[in-house]
Point group: C2
Chain length 179, copies 2
């Protein structure tokens, strides 16, 4: 599946965003500077501005790609399983653990929705909303639990000996049981 978020960009901008993604995930958030990104591309920082308005636009492109991939992964997870909420939370956690720095970028600040590719945020949220039968309250509560678990895990806030698999199961069970 091709990315509609990337297809909004010029070819050169696409290359820059993809390089940025590798840089972010491999070397961490501090490495995602315009100069280091440019160096990775073999050009100067100021040249990036020919292709992307500013760093916010670069980050918005990365976030858009992230949402698209989430939407795809979540749809597949539901499709492959008959316990959709469990499948979704597992996919949610997997996404975050496989690309922790992108996940942080996607969640740690208020979203500049005006800079995102249209619809990507909703597309990522749809599978969970479907899994709750359209119950927005329940979907939001499950999302909050999942995000809390994921980000606390990524930030190493749980004790090293915590059995997070168990905590996940207990949380999901709690949300399954109540109407």
């Amino acid at each position: 599946m091709t990315s509609s978020a990337l297809s909004r960009l010029t070819p050169r901008a696409r290359e820059i965003v993809q390089t940025a993604r590798l840089l972010l995930e491999r070397e961490g958030p501090d490495a995602l500077s315009m100069r280091r990104l440019a160096a990775q591309l073999g050009i100067r920082a100021s040249s990036i501005y020919e292709h992307l308005r500013d760093k916010q636009a670069l980050e918005a492109a990365l976030i858009s790609v992230g949402f698209e991939e989430q939407a795809e992964l979540f749809a597949q997870a539901v499709h492959r399983s008959d316990v959709p909420i469990a499948a979704l939370t597992t996919a949610y956690r997997d996404f975050a653990r496989r690309q922790p720095n992108l996940y942080r970028l996607m969640t740690e600040r208020p979203l500049r929705r005006d800079l995102l590719a249209p619809g990507v945020e909703d597309a990522a949220a749809m599978p969970l909303l479907d899994a709750t039968g359209g119950d927005r309250e329940r979907a939001r509560a499950i999302w909050a639990f999942a995000h809390g678990m994921v980000i606390l895990e990524l930030n190493q806030r749980f004790p090293p000996d915590a059995h997070l698999d168990t905590t996940w199961r207990k949380g999901i069970d709690a949300f399954q049981g109540t109407p």
Copy 2:
């Protein structure tokens, strides 16, 4: 109640940390630079390093104070109510909404526990652990839900028309019901 986190510091360092807190909360995270903090104090940035090792130490002091205040607020909340978990989650949300920038600072990155005032993290976590009767799994699940709700609210990730009070109640009910 006097702060043990602050009492570990010299008087001048205390003043700097308190000024930093006001600056952070009033003008946001970008305002918490060594130069702007120094300007607020009427000195130069380099002078701050006489009193605090570096910016990380400053942030660790702020975080320690935050944990202490949480511990105090959470203990009071439990004391005043006979539905401790509901009281705790309300207190948790209130703390975050009253000082969103401090809350973000406290949670958005891995903790430098070696720089914190000893015991403050555990002290903030104790009331919830007590409220679950020592059930660490349940305490962690509730904490994850509460943090997720709070940080998604602070980052304006829910739709503007979302009824977050309802979402909170549903989530808490779910965690109350399951053993």
